[in-house]
Symmetry: C2
Amino acid sequence: MFKVNDNYLKLPGSYLFSTVARKQREYQAAHPDKKVIRLSIGDVTQPLAPAILDAMHAAVDEMGHAETFRGYAPDLGYEFLRNAIAENDYKARGCDISADEIFVSDGAKCDSSNIQEIFSLDNKIAVCDPVYPVYVDSNVMAGRTGVYDSTTETWSDVIYMPCTAENGFAPELPKQTPDIIYLCFPNNPTGATITKSRLQEWVDYANKVGAVIIYDAAYEAYISEPDVPHTIYECEGARTCAIELRSFSKNAGFTGVRLGFTVIPKELKSGDVSLHALWARRHGTKYNGAPYIIQRAGEAVYSEAGKEQLKKQVAYYMNNAHYISAELKKAGYSVSGGVNAPYIWLKAPNGMTSWEFFDYVLANANVVGTPGSGFGPSGETYFRLTAFGSYESTVEAVDRIKNMKI
Amino acid sequence: MFKVNDNYLKLPGSYLFSTVARKQREYQAAHPDKKVIRLSIGDVTQPLAPAILDAMHAAVDEMGHAETFRGYAPDLGYEFLRNAIAENDYKARGCDISADEIFVSDGAKCDSSNIQEIFSLDNKIAVCDPVYPVYVDSNVMAGRTGVYDSTTETWSDVIYMPCTAENGFAPELPKQTPDIIYLCFPNNPTGATITKSRLQEWVDYANKVGAVIIYDAAYEAYISEPDVPHTIYECEGARTCAIELRSFSKNAGFTGVRLGFTVIPKELKSGDVSLHALWARRHGTKYNGAPYIIQRAGEAVYSEAGKEQLKKQVAYYMNNAHYISAELKKAGYSVSGGVNAPYIWLKAPNGMTSWEFFDYVLANANVVGTPGSGFGPSGETYFRLTAFGSYESTVEAVDRIKNMKI
C-alpha cells in the first residue's frame, strides 16, 4: 500500500502567497464594486523591454525553420547566455566566475527549493527570520526541519536568525553552528541590505565552521548605494563556501517569462565531492533546460539596448518604492527598506498583528499587502508592500492607506 | 560541517544521454571530416508548426504592453490551456478528467523525476526493464532504491519487470508487491505498446494491492492502432490508482520549448490524504509555472490548424520509423517497435553487447544510437534508434547501417 511523504503533512497551512491570493479573491467576490490594488506578491507589472521582445520574436522565427530549429538545450544552458552572465554579472565586477560554473534554470524559486536536495538530510539549516518561505518549506518537505511548534511558529531543527529593527534587519552570526546558511540581500521581505564588510564576515565564518552559504541575490539590480555588494563573490573566500542564486524576474520583469541561474564554484567541496558535480547531475537527471526562446530573451538583457531599457524599468519601480516610503513616513508610519530594494517593510500601527493589519488594509483601503508574520515569527506586526505596481496604482494605494482611519 | 546527499554518490556513472553525447563529441573531435548522424536521444528536428509560431508571436506582443502583460502564472497553469487539455485529451476520449486535475509544467522529465517526492521513502518502486533512466535515478537520489549491485546493474530495493522478446516487451504483474509502479506506453525505449485489456489488468491490480501507477504517456500521439489506449483513464478504476504524465515534446516538437502536464485525479488518496493536494502544494512551493508564451503555444496545439499541422508532423516521423524498421528487417536485423511509437528497438548482431554495437555503429556507420543496456539489464544486446531525424538523414543513416560489414 503506497504511503505519502508525511513531511508534507507537517507543513502548517498553505503557501503564504496562496493564502494572500485566496483572501483577495474572497474579498473581491464579496465586494465586486471595489477596485482592489495588489502590492503583495513581488510580481512585476511593466511590459518587457523592446530589446527582449525583439530577441524573442527572432528566436520564435528560428524555431520555424529546420536549419535554425533548436531541440533540447545543453544541460547547463546555452553558452551564449552563460557567457553573457559570466561577463556582465561577474567579470565586470572583478569576480572570478566562469561560464561553466553557471547553471541556467527556469527561476530562482525552483533553484532555491531544489538546492537543498544535494545536501545530507541531517544538515542543519539557518535562516533569517523573517524569511522567504520557500527556503524553509522546501526543507520541511525534505524532512530536515524537525518538529513544528505552532505556538512559536518555529521548527525544532532550524536555526532562526532574527532580523529586527534593533539589528537593522541584518542577522548576527548564529550561536549554534549551522551546516547550510540561507542569506538573501537585498532582502526579501524586509528590503534591508548588507555591507560588503559584513558579508565578508559571513564568508569568513562559513569557511571557518565548514558551512555553505546559499546566497539569494535575486534583487541585486535594485542596489544603488556604493557599499552594497551585488554578488557574494565580491568577498574573498566565497568560492569555497557560497552558492549564489540569481533571477531575471525582478531585474528584467521575467516573472511570467521564467529564467534564473545558480552559480556553484568548482572549489566548493565536501571532502573530495564537488557540489558543482552534484548539481550538474541533478540538472542532467531531473531538469531539461529553459526554453531556447527564453534563453535568447535572457541574452538580450545583457545587450546594450537591453541594459539601457532595463535601467529605466528598475528606476520606474524604485521611484514607486521611494514614493511609498516617503509618503507613509510622512503619515507617521514606521518604515524601512525601499532604498536598495523594491520592498517596503512597514510596522503595523496600534499593536495590530500582521494579519489583523492585512485584513484592515484590505477592508479599508482595498489594498493587498503581505503580512510580515507569514515570513516568520520576527515578522509579526510587520507588513510588506512591493514597489512593483504601476506608478498610478501605487500612488492611489498609498493615498488610500494614508486616508484610512487608524 | 555540511555534508552532501550521499544517495547521489551511489549513482553509477553519469546520466545515460550525457555519456552518449560525450562519446559522440569525442568521436567527432577525432574525426572532424565525418558527418555523424544522431538517432539517439529522442530529440525532434522538424520546425514548430505555423499555428504554434503564430501563437507565440502574439503572446510575445502581449508581453510588450502593460494592459496585456502577464506576470506569475496561476499555480496549476493557465485555465485556457488546462481547459484545452481536459477537452481534447480526455473528454473527447470519454475520460472523466477535469481541468483542475491537470497541472501544467515545463515537461515530463521534470514531472517524472519530481513526482516521487510526494511519496514515503520506504515505498517500493517497480519499473520495467529496460526503462527510461529518470524514473530510477530520481528514486536513487531520494534514497528509495537500496544498494546497487554493479554485476547485475540492479538496485536491491527496486522491483524489475523484464520486458523481453519473449513477453513482447510488455511487463507481467510483479511477484513482489510494489507501492509505486512506473509504466510507459507507447514505451520508451522499446517502442512497445499495451492493449486496453492488458492495461485494465494493471489498473485492477493496483487498486487491489493499493499501489499507485505513474503512467507516462508522452508518446500517445504516435498511436495509430485502434486497441491501444491513449490514456490510462480509458480504464475503469484508474481515477483511484493512476497519475498520468504527458508531454508536448514529441506530439508538438516542444523539446526545446518545454511544456508538459501531470494529471492527478482527486479520488487518488492514501487514507484521507489526497495526492492532488500534495502535488498542488509542491507546485505552489517549489515551482513557478511554465512561461505564459509557452502556455499559449501549448494552447495552439489544440487549435484546428494546430491539430491538422501536427498530424502531418507526427506522420513525418512515423514515416521515418516505418522506413528504419522495414529496411533493417530486410537487412536481416531483428527489429521491434516503430508501429505506434517513434522508437525502433534493434537486436545487436553477432552477440555484441549494446555498448559494443554502439561503438561499432558510431565507428563504421557514423550513426549515434542509444545502447539498450543503458536502460536496464534486460536492454543488454539491444540498441535504440529514434525516428526523430529528418527524412534525408534517416535514410542515409539506415543505408550506412545496412552497408556496415557485420
